[in-house]
């Protein structure tokens, strides 16, 4: 029987539950991802180059990347961080301040820099601020180290409240022009590129896309690594994980800093795309709520969930943004906030696990019902005492319990 098992186990591992060979499943996934990437790349110039659409697309990608990065910490560890906009704002201000101090990028007043040459590449001046984006991310990550170290001494609700409090401290620091860095409520000017619409949105679109792909790659890697397994163990039972040799403190802090780095990079790109940032917009608490909503809606702790959530929510925001409480107003109305609240309720009540896990469950249920018969694996005795036939039956039926 041992021999039988040894022969059968690997054979079973070659196929997934739908009976497809594993290699085929991987091939389908890779082709699907590449197709999505191609659509993402050709979207602005070929599919829909008009300014409104690409403008929305920039935001959709930004939130998709941000929610993915947020999920690396909050989704995997179960610690809901509601102060992530602090790192987004830090990244935005960092990029703006560095451009100004180091004379990088085009500038209206003429204090800007010129083209930058790196090895054989010459970067046109309009693109040079993008070179500082990784640095903006690193600065946000550095800031996240002490912040996370303090906040992560608490758990659950206390942690959420602490992150919100820290967020408001950052907003206040920016408003009060502490250290003469932020220019206070007057806002900070960014270099202004010479691009004209509809092309204007394209570089920002691609910058966001690159960060999204990066965030997704990191998220995928974390999900499959031992490190990520440690994070998921922390989510399920932190003290138990600690007692199994998982160094929970550094594990959590590293995930927190990784997600902050992405938030900072996104903030930098966002700031450059707007031309100027203000404390209220760079440190916007609504963004925190949006992130949580997106990740919860798509599926906390899943790879694709936050992206799906971000695309749905951004699309919904576009639909309701034009509605306003004030007649003939061109400024965004408050209606989408009401929609946010309603959506949050719907998600918590009807889809507590989020879209992706729910769909996955349906799919598994469908497969299990097609596989029919077989007894539930729970009723089994120990394999040593069970006849091989019974084991076989149970193995074919184990999908029932999923």
């Amino acid at each position: 029987m041992k021999l039988l098992k040894a022969l059968r186990l690997p054979a079973r591992d070659m196929t997934d539950r739908a009976g497809l060979p594993k290699a085929a499943v991987i091939a389908i996934k890779v082709v699907g991802l590449l197709a999505l990437l191609v659509i993402g790349v050709v979207f602005p110039p070929l599919i829909s180059p008009d300014t409104t659409t690409t403008g929305v697309a920039v935001y959709a990608l930004m939130f998709a990347a941000w929610a993915t990065a947020w999920n690396i910490f909050s989704g995997y560890t179960g610690y809901i961080a509601l102060g992530h906009a602090a790192f987004f704002g830090t990244g935005a201000y960092a990029l703006g301040i560095l451009c100004e101090r180091w004379h990088i990028g085009p500038q209206l007043i003429g204090t800007g820099g010129g083209d930058v040459s790196i090895l054989f590449l010459t970067i046109p001046v309009d693109y040079t601020p993008f070179l500082l984006v990784p640095l903006a991310g690193l600065i946000a990550g550095l800031v996240a180290v002490p912040v996370g170290w303090i906040a992560l001494h608490t758990r659950r609700h206390t942690f959420i409240v602490i992150t919100i409090a820290i967020f408001f401290i950052f907003q206040l620091l920016a408003e009060n022009n502490v250290g003469n860095l932020t220019n206070g409520t007057k806002g900070l000017e960014f270099p202004y590129p010479s691009w004209v619409y509809p092309f204007y949105n394209f570089p920002f679109y691609y910058a966001m896309l690159v960060i999204l792909v990066l965030a997704l790659a990191v998220s995928w890697w974390v999900r499959h690594s031992k490190y990520g397994l440690g994070l998921l163990a922390i989510r399920d039972d932190e003290d138990r994980a600690l007692g199994l040799g998982v160094r929970t403190g550094p594990y959590k802090l590293i995930a927190y800093v990784i997600s902050a780095i992405f938030a900072g990079m996104l903030g930098g790109v966002w700031g450059y795309s707007l031309g100027s940032v203000f404390p209220q917009s760079a440190f916007d608490p609504l963004n925190d709520i949006s992130l949580a909503l997106m990740a919860f809606m798509g599926g906390l702790g899943t790879l694709s969930g936050p992206i799906i959530g971000a695309l749905i929510i951004e699309w919904a925001r576009l639909q309701f943004n034009s509605l306003s409480f004030i007649e003939n107003s061109t400024s965004p109305g408050g209606y989408y906030l009401i929609i946010y609240g309603a959506l949050f309720l719907v998600v918590i009540l009807l889809l507590p696990e989020g879209i992706v896990p729910t769909l996955r469950k349906w799919w598994m249920g469908l497969l299990a019902s097609r596989e029919e018969q077989g007894m539930p694996a729970d009723s089994l005795e120990l394999s040593k005492q069970t006849a091989p036939v019974a084991v076989e039956q149970a193995e074919s039926g184990e999908g029932v319990n999923r």
């Binding site: 098992k5 186990l9 890697w221 499959h224 690594s225 031992k226 490190y227 397994l229 440690g230 998921l232 163990a233 989510r235 399920d236 039972d237 003290d239 138990r240 994980a241 600690l242 007692g243 199994l244 040799g245 998982v246 160094r247 929970t248 694996a377 729970d378 089994l380 005795e381 120990l382 394999s383 040593k384 084991v391 149970a394 193995e395 184990e398 319990n401 999923r402």
Partner: protein, 243 residues
């Protein structure tokens, strides 16, 4: 040679003295039983050894090295594994993923690698086979029955190859066939040199399994000896029957 030594350990929670100058010695390669009435300090003793509670006074040493008040992750990495009275597994991870949590490594390369292609994968499957739950490997651990969870918790501490394993009521609430199965696994591991300290209320299980039995009462050790000696010790009878 003593594997694990607790000396004059004291721990109070508010006005309750959970451990009162308690000293025990666990010999290498033995299965030592730890019994006592409810509230006698057995679980607290486990908690102070494994770093979940800090000692008020006293010391804990492992293989002659002081490990008093080290954090739980360090205690575990030194080679002391434990199970909990109320089984603690990771309910949303699959059974196989549960197995790999305890196989975290110190070097970055090990931590950054994929758990499913690590060299522990084979060992994880072997251990699941050892406790007899291999066929449940892809199931979320939260779906397992109570007894299966106990077996999983037992299996996942084994992946780190601890030298001492502390079991907190391994037989509590488990059906007799499973208890028998578990006792066999413990003996098999013991023969390979693993030392055990077992807290258990099931006397048949303790007496049948252990080389030495220690009795705790009101936070201190009142008796020690072979199962037969302890069974007939008047102080033990008094503690249990409250005469």
């Amino acid at each position: 040679m003593s594997m694990l030594e607790v000396q004059n350990a004291s721990k109070a929670f508010g006005g309750i003295q959970a451990l009162d100058a308690c000293s025990i010695t666990v010999e290498q390669g033995k299965i030592t039983g730890l019994i006592g009435p409810n509230g006698s300090g057995k679980t607290t003793l486990f908690n102070v050894i494994t770093g979940y509670e800090r000692l008020d006074s006293g010391s804990v040493s492992f293989q002659g090295k002081l490990i008093t008040n080290l954090t739980p992750d360090r205690v575990f990495r030194l080679g002391i594994g434990r199970t909990f009275q109320l089984t603690r597994i990771f309910p949303r991870l699959t059974v196989l993923e549960n197995m790999h949590v305890a196989a975290q490594r110190r070097n970055a390369g090990g931590v950054l690698g994929r758990w499913s292609s690590s060299h522990e994968q084979r060992r994880a499957l072997e251990l699941l086979d050892f406790v007899g739950i291999t066929r449940l490997k892809d199931m979320p651990a939260g779906n397992l029955s109570y007894g299966q969870k106990k077996l999983l918790e037992f299996a996942f501490i084994l992946i780190a190859e601890p030298q001492v394993i502390l079991l907190d009521e391994p037989a509590g609430g488990v059906n007799p066939v499973m208890i028998q199965h578990l006792a066999e696994r413990i003996r098999a591991l013991n023969q390979r040199g693993v030392t055990f300290l077992v807290v258990e209320h099931n006397m048949e299980f303790v007496m049948g399994l252990c080389d030495t039995v220690m009795v705790l009462h009101r936070g201190t050790k009142i008796a020690e000896g072979t199962p037969g000696e302890v069974r007939n010790n008047p102080a033990v009878l008094e503690a249990y029957l409250g005469a």
